[in-house]
Symmetry: C2
Subunit: 366 residues, 2 copies
Amino acid sequence: MTPAGRTAPEPRRRARARSRTDAVTIEEVARRANVSVATVSRALRGLPNVAPSTRSRVEQVARELNYQVDTYASRLATGRSDTVGLAVPNINNWYFAQVAAGVEAVLSAAGMDVLLHSVDDDSGRARLLSELSSVRRRLDGLILIDVLLTPAEIRALAGDPIRVVTVGQQTEHFPSVTVDNRRAAAGATRHLIQLGHRRIGLIGSSSRTPLPFDVPDHRRQGYVEALIEAGIDYREELEADGGFSVQGGTEAMVHLMTEARPPTAVFALSDEMAMGALKAAADLGLHVPGDVSLIGFDDHELAVVFDLTTVRQDPEWQGAAAGRLLLGLGDDHPADLEHLVGDTRLIVRGTTARPPAPGASSPGRH
Amino acid sequence: MTPAGRTAPEPRRRARARSRTDAVTIEEVARRANVSVATVSRALRGLPNVAPSTRSRVEQVARELNYQVDTYASRLATGRSDTVGLAVPNINNWYFAQVAAGVEAVLSAAGMDVLLHSVDDDSGRARLLSELSSVRRRLDGLILIDVLLTPAEIRALAGDPIRVVTVGQQTEHFPSVTVDNRRAAAGATRHLIQLGHRRIGLIGSSSRTPLPFDVPDHRRQGYVEALIEAGIDYREELEADGGFSVQGGTEAMVHLMTEARPPTAVFALSDEMAMGALKAAADLGLHVPGDVSLIGFDDHELAVVFDLTTVRQDPEWQGAAAGRLLLGLGDDHPADLEHLVGDTRLIVRGTTARPPAPGASSPGRH
DNA sequence: GCCCTTCGTGCAAGCGGTTACATCGGATCC
DNA sequence: GGATCCGATGTAACCGCTTGCACGAAGGGC
């Protein structure tokens, strides 16, 4: 009556429909090379203790048969996947695309697979959250570009053997690649101040998420810091939300420049917003920098075309650096927690100049 | 003496160092739910013939234990990977990033993994070639964006169960998503002709690869076609290579406009090249469209900022469409070989106008 | 010449699922 | 009421590769 009481069915061979190409297996290679599968495995992976003659024979056979290891079988057996996830808010954004390119180049050159994971604010974000645990089950590494993590997520990841590197955002838990946004933004703002501007607008992004999004926050801090340092009051009404998009930049600029007392200079926290602002200025009949100065952030490929003054950073390098960091994070290096900081540099072009008139920050137009 | 003659070693349990998190396995779930692993597998995957009460109990246990199937084990067992490769020349390019975004959105919403594979002209391309066979062993699908395939590669892929969809390029072997580049380009050229232009330059890209790269070729064909139709001779000296980059566009424009008899209008085969050309015009002190008209192709996000006349296409839609095509390519649908053609539309903005003077194509400047 | 290493290989036990087939109890049918 | 079905489960054979351990053949040391 117990299941164990059944007569043991004799082993049967099943003619399972091979779903993929009837690819050659390691067994086939072993047979043809007159060795065991173990030897084939060792020979092909360059492990020691394989006679040179045997190795070359196996390699020969493998080549002839066009044998390719089944990565999934291998991954199952080893527990390693040589796959890293690349989580990015949205790849169709200049900055993220650049970073992604850098990451991909380094990682795929190292023979790793890169799993692209778009984490749009809403649904994607929810997905990451829910998939994080499953993700851990198939990834060796994870590169997070400007992706915010909740404390719970951090805890979950930190307890795992998975290697995590963040770009843009920085936490104390994982190695990271960032730039000194605060300082760079302060520098940009100082540039405007030195030109004589006192009413300096800011096109940024109010984090709509409950999580702190470092990048705009830090840049904003730098902006405020430079103002204070120059004895200029920070004015809330000079700040507008551009949502880090071209369109948003246009809207924010229209908003700022149609106020009762518009700024004489505007700092957009990204070049794309700055370009949108340029459009707004044109629409409003304002000359840049004649009527209003404008400075961006990124040194987007097209910034030079707009002759846009900006703060240069090198996102592709950042991505590559993140990739290298991840690769360096061998099982031996127990998370050195390296925090790389990329360069930034003020690039003065043609969209910034002295304010329209001396004392332009006063309401009188004399 | 034969190996088989050895005394069979008794089964031993190995305390293998679990490389990943000691994740809960299906076995653990089975034990706690008092069922067999088979039942767990069936219950969790929603297969029929599982008692509702059993199913919910299993689901409950799985949730409590935070069980996640090991995708690699699953993939090995089923032979399916639910992973598709996304091969693109370089993601840090507006068009490709857009397409990639579309692909990613559709595919990951369908629960598929997207493996990013950059195929830069040189090394990356070589890699694709060599990896193609191995790729087949781990991918269910492959989306090729503007990637050229050699006949050998096509043959290799076509003989496989892998589903392939191409974007941009079109072959008779795989379903594809393209736009009618020839017609769209002819339309753009006609627009210039109708404005009165007779000397129309072209900023394109001479395929440096031995393979035919359809996109620029087709656009160029459309250009030539429109010229001929209007009785205008095609002149080789009015064509310059912009390499589909901003920088290249600038160089090409400089080249064209410093010729003895420069064109009165220029058609750049991509917006990015057009923007580069805009820069060149500015550098040369030429007014657009006063001195020279300019039309692009893409309707890049920033085209509106430049007030650039262009031909709109929707790369993100194309990517999404490719993703859907791939998903629809079920094992049941035996390659319907659908060829989708996306919309294009002339967007007239401010960079095109009548030529500087009637008969501007004549050398005299009266 | 004998014992101990070192090398080169083979054996077979996993890795964690999936699934063909067997089993079993209760509902259905004459 | 007994044969028949059918739905719910369990058993265990894979999937294809990696790897700890065993083992025989040389090579070395004394």
